[in-house]
């Protein structure tokens, strides 16, 4: 026992000049990138609190002397944010419920059962995930207007539920990891 404790000693680090330069460079790049990552946002936040005259007269990066909150109230009214948030909430609830129900049931069926179309359906979803949504907009617009779903909230909800292929992918991955033992018992 005594011999073992005697042989354990701390490793001494020799900090050569190369190490110091590397450390300085490392932290310098980290700080630089973090700074550039938040700079655009910070400038927006600062400007959001300035009044019009102060905004025209001062440097963009200077903190406002008076923190004017009325800009937010004005933006809320002019942009009709109340209605916009309500719409977002409605869409969120319905798309979430629909997407989860559909996605999990599909993942369950694809993972538990062997049937003829299993591989085909998987490949259909994989290929669909590759297609960028923007490319489809031209004809999707035509189809939606034929179904009279344009300019309605439920049209958008329906579209969101149908094009959410990534979430189905994720559900398939997760259901692979859930064991079948609980179902058997």
């Amino acid at each position: 026992m005594a011999a073992r404790t005697a042989s354990v000693h701390k490793i001494k680090h020799h900090y050569g000049p190369g190490f110091v330069i590397w450390t300085i460079f490392k932290y310098f790049t980290l700080i630089l990138v973090s700074f550039t990552s938040v700079l655009p946002i910070v400038s927006c936040v600062i400007t959001a609190f300035k009044s019009k005259t102060e905004y025209q007269n001062t440097n963009v990066m200077q903190l406002p002397k008076v923190w004017k909150i009325s800009n937010f109230a004005e933006a809320f009214q002019v942009a009709n944010m109340g209605r916009a948030f309500l719409n977002s909430l409605i869409i969120l609830i319905f798309v979430l419920i629909g997407s989860i129900l559909i996605g999990t049931s599909l993942a369950y069926a694809l993972n538990r059962f062997k049937f003829v179309g299993n591989g085909l359906i998987r490949n259909l979803f994989t290929f669909a995930a590759l297609l960028p949504a923007i490319a489809m907009q031209v004809s999707t617009y035509a189809i939606m207007s034929n179904l009279h779903l344009i300019n309605h909230l439920y049209g958008y909800i329906f579209l969101m539920m149908g094009t959410d292929v990534i979430s189905i992918y994720i559900f398939i991955q997760y259901s692979r990891s859930t064991g079948t033992s609980c179902c058997r018992s």
């Binding site: 990138v33 946002i41 400038s43 963009v60 599909l106 960028p132 923007i134 489809m136």
Partner: protein, 334 residues
């Protein structure tokens, strides 16, 4: 089960049997998602291919024109010019992957305030693309954020270009906004992959006296090959379909309109639905071909790398031994 069979000797209907129930469940569970997928992805795709052969608007008569729309893609300067712009985004994507790898490696080792740096760098990815567009519109305006910061470093105002108007730099400005947004997400993915490397490998390497650069080259790089190649493929596809940044920040003016921005203008402003569909199908084919080429290329480059921790010579020796054994078995069998 046997008691059930004893008390119910009559044959159960097919739909109540195990297989029948399975089939009911399968059909019930898969019919809605597959129907939605068909309706919103494959049916538009088929319709788009059909539209591309017609000269048409959204409502009104359609005239069949065959391959004319595709020929027009190459004839029109604005469309074929916009294809070249994706090269800028590809360069940006490569820079992005290098930066992400560099920061992922640094941040997966012990660094002071590591979590803070990770959070700050990942933060841009969480913001909506359109909001980012407006933030950068503000960022690049003459005399505003970027100019002020550079001025503070001593660069005189007269030397600074008009970031969004000057044709020499405006595409790079847009590419920067894209790199700014996605570098954090790439970095976090790489960190996840680096963390999944067995830590005993690092200890073994440290015992053998490897410094950080050697650890990176021989342990980290081989283990995260798959995710790096996946990211490269996704970046190339992404740069071909770049849309949000140019659309929101410059509206595609001053020579920044990428392919999809021009397609959107053609479809909704000029109402040339046939031409727009042809453009979309054309780009989808390019993306498809590019993905296949990349997959084959990476399969070729990494053809010997099935097991991550075997050296190439060991693998070759194994293969030789296997072939010799197979030959011997065949000879012995005869």
């Amino acid at each position: 089960m046997s008691s059930a069979a004893a008390t119910a000797p009559a044959k159960k209907s097919f739909w109540k049997s195990r297989r029948g129930q399975q089939i009911t469940v399968i059909i019930a569970f898969t019919i809605i998602p597959v129907f939605l997928l068909m309706l919103f992805t494959y049916y538009p795709f088929a319709e788009m291919v059909k539209f591309s052969f017609y000269k048409m608007r959204y409502v009104g008569k359609r005239v069949f024109v065959g391959w004319d729309n595709y020929k027009e893609i190459f004839r029109r300067d604005d469309i074929s010019g916009s294809l070249v712009l994706c090269l800028y985004y590809m360069v940006g994507a490569i820079v992005q992957i290098f930066l992400a790898l560099y920061f992922a490696t640094i941040l997966s080792m012990k660094v002071k305030c590591g979590k803070l740096f990770k959070g700050l760098i990942f933060f841009p990815y969480l913001i909506n693309g359109i909001a980012i567009g407006f933030i950068f519109k503000f960022f690049y305006t003459r005399g505003f954020v970027l100019d002020t910061v550079l001025h503070a470093f001593g660069i005189p105002m007269s030397a600074l270009p008009y970031w969004l108007k000057d044709k020499a730099v405006n595409n790079w400005s847009l590419v920067y906004s894209s790199v700014w947004r996605y570098m954090g997400q790439n970095m976090v993915l790489f960190i996840g992959a680096i963390m999944s490397v067995d830590s005993s490998l690092y200890e073994a390497a440290a015992l053998d006296g490897a410094n950080n650069w050697q650890k990176f080259k021989y342990i980290i790089l081989p283990s995260i090959k798959t995710i790096v190649t996946l990211n490269i493929i996704l970046s190339i596809t992404g740069s071909l379909s770049a849309f949000e940044a140019p659309y929101v920040i410059t509206g595609g003016n001053n020579g920044t309109g990428t392919f999809f921005v021009v397609m959107d203008k053609v479809a909704h402003t000029s109402q040339k639905v046939g031409l727009a569909s042809a453009m979309a199908v054309f780009l989808l084919c390019i993306i498809f071909i590019a993905t296949i080429i990349q997959k084959l290329l990476f399969k070729y480059i990494f053809r010997n790398a099935n097991a991550d921790d075997e050296s190439l010579d060991a693998k070759k020796a194994k293969q030789k031994a296997r072939k010799a054994a197979a030959k011997a078995a065949a000879k012995g069998g005869m």
